[in-house]
Every structure is written in C-alpha cells, then in structure tokens.
C-alpha cells in the first residue's frame, strides 16, 4: 500500500499544476519524502515550473513553505538567509477546541499504564500520566467547529484590526483546521513581540476585567462601556446584554457584584475569542503547508478558499473539494476504526471494511490500515 500511496500522490502531481505562492523565489521550502526520516529544508525555487518539477519528480508526502521572505532562502543557517519580513499568519486547529466528535474518532493509549480509550483526554483517566499516544481523525463536525473559529477570527480582523475580507487568503490545511494569511505588505515587518500582542488580542489573553469595571453604589460594579463601543469592550457588552436580558431594566447593563462581572467577562471572552495556535503567529521563520499540495497524513488537498467561500461552503462542501482521489471501493483492515471520519460513518464490528479509495488512503496514511484488495 505504501507504494499505492506514493503512486496516488505521483498521479496527483502529474496531473496538477500547483499555483506558485506570491514572492515564490524569496521563500524557503521544506519537504518530507515517503519513507524518509527528517525534513528536506532550505530549498528554494526560481519560478513555478521549478517548484512543480520538484513535486512531480520527488513526490513529497508533506510540502511546506515559509511564511517569511528571505534574500537567500536556501542558505543553510537562519542567520545567513537575510530575513525580509513574514506574513502575519493564524493557525486554527481543532485540537484546541472541544468538539463532540472527538469521542467518535480519536483514540489514545497511555504509555505509562497501558490503558486505552476514545476521545482526547488531557491526561490518562486511570493513572493520570500525560504521556499518551494519540491518534486523531478529521470529520465534517471537526471542520464545522474549525470554520466557526475561523469566522470569529475574520470578524476580529475586520472590525478590530481593519483587515478587510479580501485582504486574507484562507487555506484548509487538509487536516483539522484552517490557516489564515493576512496579505498586507505593511504587516510583514512586525516583530515577534508585536505578533504576540496581536495573537493575545484575538485570543482575549491578558484581558483584565477590572479595567472594564467602575465601582458604583452599594459595593456593586458597572461595566464602563456600552454595546456601541468598538473592540473587546463592546463585544463583551453585547454578550452581557444577551445573557442578562431578563435583568435589564431600561437602557444599559445592570450593576452587579464584582465577582459576577468577572465570571461573565471570562465566559464572554471564552466564547468570542478565536482559538488559534499562537506559536504559528509568533514564529517569524515558520514553515507552513503549501496550498495545492497534498497533506501526507490524510491525502486531502491543502485547499485555498476566499473569505466568502468559507462563509458560504458547508463542511461537507469543503471536504468534497479537498478530496482528490476517486471513490472506487477498496477493502481494508484496521484495528480501532474511527466511527466518524471525513463524511462517513463507519458502522462495523469487524476490522475489515469496504471503503472508497480516498478514505482507504486516509485510513492507511493515518491509521496504518492494510489494503486487502
């Protein structure tokens, strides 16, 4: 089957022209090849044909490119590359969000005591060890939640940061999330501290409820801002108005004990913040999946979307667009089959099932499924 995966990837790159990213020649590329440990790094290309020629001849399992631009992207040392700037990027990964489907497809095994089970517990429920071997899968429910987070981020970018929707490029990662690239040349030079501030802002991190409250009569506290206020204060005010609608008499939010406000603000921030992986935003030398290539754990296409596509498409639509291999039936054997994966519900007591080719490829790449026929 390994050769089948390689052959499928080969057929994909033979029939596909992967669109070169902007500033193609100033970026560093990294690849992981089938059956080879470690990553090929510090690769650069002069034009789109060179890039596609590489993909066709080397057929990588994973393909990445730098969010940074460099004078000499192929220099082996970071210090020799000549950093010119980096795109502002956000990574939304469903690993950071609780979804109901994790019980249906994710499994874990404790490396300490050997216990195993479904879902994504923080630590082993038997012995408490955090040393778990995890296997995670993606389904339409995951993508829906990731999509919700991405839409929250787009709202924050637009209303708070003034980044309009046609200034962002969105990528479905081919696994459990989305990458949002802000296409603003004037943000390229932001340093790490600046990016951390932006990242903390969209996560609502470091928000101090006390700064939003004013002491009032009788030991009660008033919220300093109204629903019209821009940014976090207004967002929180609108959320509070919704939660407290029964207690609002006349105009404005009620006065409450401090602890109650603090709880409410915490809930609002948790609900309204975008769950991003901050490491990706802060790191200005990051390699990230190259749109148009295949994700080596799923066989799905790393898919470019516009903001309006992201809003209009359902999770099912997105998955269908990312599936690039056929649905001819293939017989596979695998232990602990996920019961929900991609668009499919697998109901089987046996370890052997008949599934469409693209699902067989996913089960093989991510779960070590054996192809029988």
């Amino acid at each position: 089957m390994s050769s089948l995966a390689l052959n499928l990837f080969k057929s994909y790159y033979r029939r596909t022209y992967v669109p070169p990213p902007s500033h193609l020649e100033k970026r560093e590329y990294g690849f992981q090849l089938f059956g080879v440990q470690g990553m090929l790094r510090h690769i650069s290309f002069g034009n789109g044909n060179e890039l596609n020629e590489f993909l066709r001849s080397r057929v990588p399992q994973h393909a990445y490119y730098s969010t940074a631009l460099y004078e000499s992207p192929s220099a082996p040392e970071m210090s020799g590359k000549g950093w010119l700037g980096a795109e502002l990027v956000f990574d939304i990964d469903i690993d950071h969000v609780d979804t109901p489907c994790k019980e249906l497809h994710d499994t874990w095994k404790c490396k300490n005591c050997g216990a195993e089970g479904r879902g994504q517990p923080r630590a082993c429920p038997v012995c408490g060890s955090e040393n778990l071997e995890r296997k995670s899968w993606v389904c339409d429910i995951c993508i829906n939640s990731a999509r919700d987070e991405a839409l929250k981020l787009l709202d924050l970018l637009e209303n708070d940061f003034g980044v309009s929707r046609n200034e962002v490029a969105i990528t479905f990662s081919g696994h459990r999330g989305f990458h949002i690239h802000v296409q603003r040349e004037d943000f390229m030079s932001l340093d790490q501290d600046a990016r951390r501030e932006i990242s903390d802002y969209v996560r609502g991190l470091g928000l101090e409820p006390e700064l939003m409250l004013r002491r009032s009569k009788g030991g009660l506290y008033a919220f300093r801002y109204d629903a019209e206020t821009p940014g976090w204060p207004g967002r929180i005010a609108r959320y509070a108005a919704l939660l407290l609608s029964e207690r609002i008499a006349g105009s404005g939010l009620p006065e409450l004990p401090k602890a109650e406000w603090e709880d409410l603000i915490k809930t609002a921030v948790n609900e309204l913040s975008a769950k991003i992986d901050e490491k990706v935003t802060i790191d200005v030398h990051r390699l990230i999946r190259l749109p148009g290539t295949l994700h080596g754990k799923t066989g799905l296409k790393v898919l470019e979307l516009t903001a309006s596509e992201l809003e209009a498409l359902t999770a099912e639509d997105i998955l269908k667009k990312a599936i690039v291999f056929g649905d001819e039936e293939v017989r596979v054997r695998m232990r602990k089959l996920p019961s929900r994966v991609l668009l499919y519900t697998i109901e089987s007591d046996s370890d052997v099932v008949n599934v469409p080719l693209h699902l067989a490829l996913y089960l093989h790449l991510n779960g070590g499924a054996e192809v029988l026929r």
């Binding site: 501290d193 951390r196 903390d200 700064l211 821009p230």
Partner: protein
C-alpha cells in the same frame, strides 16, 4: 492624518530639543560645517568635546547632559555624536545611547504637552516617524502596527487586549502618545546611526574620539563579563542550558532583549534559586533599565504580586517557537530539566538545530 496638513510647528528652540528632525538637519547645512572643520577649528573642537562627553556618559549608562540652548550648536553636536557612534560601530552602544537619548526626549514632550503644544507630538509622529496618527478629541488614534512596535509594556493598561481597537486604530491619551514616541525616537536614532556614512577619511581629531569611546566601552564590557562569570559560576556555567546561557550573555552585555526573552531568563533564574535582588542585578545591564518597572516585573514573575503564582520558564518547544532557542537537548523538554540533570552530574547531549 496626512502629512501635508501639518504645518512646520517647530521653532529654533525646538530644534535644540529635537535635533533629529529633518528640518534641524537642514539648518546644519546652513552652517556649512565639514568634518575637517570639526577636527580643526575652535568651534569644531567645542562640538567634538561635547559629543565626546555625551558618549562617555552613555558608556557609563548615566543621564545625558542637557541639550545646548544654541540650536545650531546642539544640532551639530547631535549629528557629530551619531557619526562617532557609526565610527565605533557597536550596536549595543548605539542602542544604549539611543535609549538614554529618547528618555530625555520624552521629558521634553511631556513639558510640551503641559504647555498645550499637542501639535509638536503630532508633528514628530507623522512627519518624522511616518506614523499613522489622528487626533480625535480628547484622544488620539494610532494605527495598531505602530502601537505594538512602540508599546513600553505588555501587560495591564498597555496590553493591546485591554485597549479599544477599532478598524485598525488604537485609542490612546496624549501622554501615552508621548511614551510611544519615546520608543519611536529611540528606534529612529538607531536608524540614523545605521545610515550615517562618513565619506572620505575621518580626520585625525575625530578619529581620536572614536578610539577613546571604543576603549571606554570595551573596558566597560570587560567589567560586565566578569559579573557574568561570577553569576554563572555560582552553579558552574555548564549547568545552564545553552538557550539560557545565551540569553544571560546577551543580557549581561547590555543588549536590549525582547519581552519574551526577559521573561524566559528571569523566570529561569528565579526558579533555580536566585533572589529577586540577584535577578534584578542581572537586568541592571539593560540599556533601558528602570528599577521601578523591572522590580515590578521580576516580583510579578516571582509570584510576589498579581496572581501570586510563581511562573515557570517556557517549555523547550515554546522557547524554540519564540525564537529564543536554537538547540535540541537530548531527553530534555524543559530548560529546568537540563539544569537539574546537570546538577546531578549527568551530561546532556546538545545539538544545534539551525
């Protein structure tokens, strides 16, 4: 606000407080003073002596002398100082001077505000630094990308998360704008030094000052290195993981570390048993060291303030993703792990990643 809407609001008196503005530089041209003159005329010697005096203060990390009242003289001294800095060519000294210099500028800006001269702040922000700043009574709006590159702190009221941010603009008070300008001016002065080019040979008299300042600076660095030796030999330098060792060296050599790096270093030192005072001693070498702010931050990390939790240093993964570590230490996921292993006499295999 577009730059053309701003009148030139600076008087000659202002040129002596803000000699870095382009208009001040053109007044220097009227003086038609060459490097040769600086080295060989009485006026030139006066200028050179004053520049030398300022740089030796910067080497010691002391407050710079007040600007000259004669603005032509001040502008000449200022640019001569930058030329000498360019000649010395040490980024850390340049940073140190610029930090001290910007601090003085901040004081003048506050005085201007007290006199109601807001237009001077706007002028510096828009015309000199190129910031997108718009006055909206009674506050100012500043585009977030300038705010985040100049904010002095990353917690509390300065934190972007706690600001009103609308369509890319942060609302700040005029006093806050002055504080943001301090950082902006510091970076601007650094860029002036980096761009300063001396054409032709440096005259002997100027070169002597370059040499003297270089010598004083490297003597000062020696002092600092011996402090570093003392501190790290407390446990033996080998006990420190390579990332922390690197941060410590950078810190002790007076480099201005980003917030994340300071946090990593301070939390590490506090966790291996340094006291707040000892940790502060290490940070005293920052070019922008301010006892009150640094003490507050270190005490916060030590868990003596705020949330009352003692902070752990970042995990190795995070150290790397913040660009603070470029090593991989076998079997080590946390810098403290390295330290405790080394303390038990175990060797940790270290590989440089990039």
């Amino acid at each position: 606000m577009s730059a053309t809407q701003l009148r030139v609001v600076l008087t000659p008196e202002d040129f002596s407080r803000y000699p870095f503005v382009p208009e001040a530089l053109s007044s220097l041209r009227e003086l038609e003073l060459t490097l040769e003159d600086i080295a060989s005329t009485p006026l030139g010697n006066l200028i050179l002596e004053k520049a030398r005096e300022r740089l030796l203060k910067a080497v010691e990390g002391e407050k710079l002398p007040s600007p000259e009242e004669d603005y032509m003289l001040e502008v000449a001294v200022f640019y001569t100082t930058l030329l000498i800095l360019a000649g010395v060519g040490d980024d850390r000294l340049t940073e140190k001077f610029s930090t001290l210099y910007a601090k003085a500028v901040y004081e003048f800006l506050l005085k201007d505000l007290e006199k109601g001269s807001r237009d001077k702040l706007l002028y510096l922000a828009v015309k000199v630094l190129g910031w997108d700043v718009r006055p909206v009574d009674p506050n100012v709006l500043i585009h977030f990308k300038y705010f985040v590159s100049a904010q002095p702190e990353f917690t509390g009221e300065w934190k972007l998360t706690n600001r009103v941010l609308e369509k890319g603009y942060v609302r700040v008070s005029w006093r806050e704008l002055a504080r943001l300008l301090e950082t902006g001016v510091k970076k601007y002065v650094i860029s002036l030094v980096q761009r300063a080019e001396v054409s032709g040979n440096i005259p002997e008299g100027v070169y002597r000052v370059v040499e003297e300042v270089s010598r004083a600076w490297s003597a000062r660095q020696q002092d600092i290195r011996s402090v570093a030796r003392d501190i790290s030999s407390r446990r033996g330098e080998e006990a420190l993981p390579p990332c922390i060792r690197e941060l410590l060296h950078q810190q002790l050599s007076g480099k201005n570390l980003p917030h994340s790096a300071r946090f990593a270093l301070a939390s590490f030192l506090l966790n291996i048993g340094f006291s707040v005072e000892e940790t502060l001693e290490v940070f005293r070498h920052s070019p922008d060291f301010r006892e009150d702010i640094a003490r507050y931050q270190v005490e916060h990390i030590a868990g003596l303030r705020g949330s009352r939790v003692k902070y752990l240093p970042y995990k190795c993964d995070n150290m790397r993703s913040y660009g603070l570590c470029r090593w991989s230490c076998e079997g080590v996921k946390h810098p403290l792990q390295y330290f405790y292993r080394a303390l038990r006499g175990r060797r940790v295999k270290v590989k440089e990643l990039w």
